[in-house]
Symmetry: C2
Subunit: 256 residues, 2 copies
């Protein structure tokens, strides 16, 4: 484990969920925990989507389900160039190219794949230091179950991370291209739930299915829903919570 230290910078409790902002090596993150809960509980790390940040409603909503429904701890980092982190010149240039392609109605896939691959490379050591630091908290501990949940850019960052991180033993991914990720997915053998949109206007069915196919996991489940890229149904969040509950147990049954 690295010696990078976790510093709490803010704390509040709302409707049964304790929210603590932190930094690890300068990277800002948030840790959600049960306000009143068991001494130790599993941890789920979540990766946010491209263009948003650690406290996006998709993150806070999922965190509440995991905290209140299962009694887990949940942590999210701002990805490089996202949320409270400054954008580099490289970020600005890639975002400009992406916006130009969108405005021109051109495919954004190749740009997203390339940019997310770069962010994943920067993120990997950050996530490892953060996990080291979180596991030093007594309410998490070094030997408890750890999951990962990230769709879109959360998958682009998560697959390379999970591929090299043996502490993570169950993961929910989805909605990305296989180009730079399939080789890494082939090294992943833990249970995986994978979401894709059957009518995704950016990611072809062939591409989406190829990334699901690449996981070496004996237990893997594809959830493909009718609809376009941004129409991933809300019930898939509940399904992901049940997936973790099935694998990690449910400290606090009933509420999810």
């Amino acid at each position: 484990m690295s010696s990078t230290i976790l510093r709490f910078t803010a704390e509040s409790t709302t409707n049964g969920v304790r929210e603590r902002d932190f930094t690890v090596g300068g990277v800002p993150g948030v840790l959600w925990s049960p306000a009143v809960g068991p001494e130790r509980a599993p941890l789920v790390l979540m990766g946010h989507g491209g263009g948003n940040h650690k406290k996006h409603p998709a993150m806070t909503g999922r965190a509440r389900r995991l905290v209140l429904g299962c009694g887990y701890h949940v942590a999210v980092l701002d990805a490089p160039g996202h949320g409270d982190r400054p954008r580099s010149e490289h970020d600005e240039a890639e975002i400009a190219v992406m916006q130009e392609a969108m405005a021109a109605g051109k495919p954004v896939g190749p740009i997203v794949v390339r940019y997310n691959d770069h962010l994943a490379e920067l993120s990997l050591p950050e996530w490892q230091s953060t996990l080291d630091a979180l596991q030093r908290l007594p309410e998490i501990g070094a030997d408890g179950p750890v999951g990962y949940w990230g769709i879109n850019m959360g998958t682009a960052i998560g697959i390379p991370f999970v591929a090299v991180e043996p502490r993570i033993t169950a993961a929910v991914f989805g909605q990305h291209w296989p180009d730079t990720l399939a080789d890494k997915a082939r090294r992943i053998t833990i249970p995986v739930e994978y979401d894709l949109q059957w009518d995704d206007e950016h990611i072809s069915r062939e591409a989406g299915l190829a990334l699901f196919d690449a996981f070496a996991s004996k237990e893997k489940t594809l959830h493909a829903n009718a609809g376009r890229h941004k129409e991933l149904p809300r019930f898939e969040a509940d399904s992901a919570v049940r997936f973790f509950a099935r694998h990690f147990g449910r400290a606090n049954a009933g509420a999810a």
Copy 2:
């Protein structure tokens, strides 16, 4: 509605579930209901798999989840040539051809497709009469939600039935070939959950995905799990129960 009459032939109650055997026009079926429950509740019709029957453990287990978890009524018929029903010469001949193909390691798909299509044709009017008769029971009624749940042969019989039966408003299908079914699936617009096995040794991925693709439903979800034909995970039964609970409401929350 037809005038075919439902006759109850046996009744018992075990662990909160009331089980009533019945016949409609000579076809034997079973109706599971809450032992103590609301005056009216939704009905789920279930189709069993090839070679088994109305009280196969897969049927009784799913029925218990729907009755105890949701407070629903659940009905299953013995398919033609199955369970308590005599086999015709045609049944015997098709089963012999199927067993020969299996013993010789030849593909059984074309035989299963042809035989199940024949059974579906016989079953369709039986299911319609049964639904007419069940809806005359005061605890079901003519205007309540009706679902259909059948995998394998239950899908071969269910898709043609649901395609022409407007009373059914949500369905779970899975694990069949598209040959005779895709055209009928194209007429189905209700919410569908569809199970397939990613490593099915009988049904190719291409064939399985083609049948899912054929449904015209705006809401449809594919659940594809790693594993062979008979390895459909148990958690897909829980998922199907939640699918019906999401669409029909949950009279009796908590137990599923």
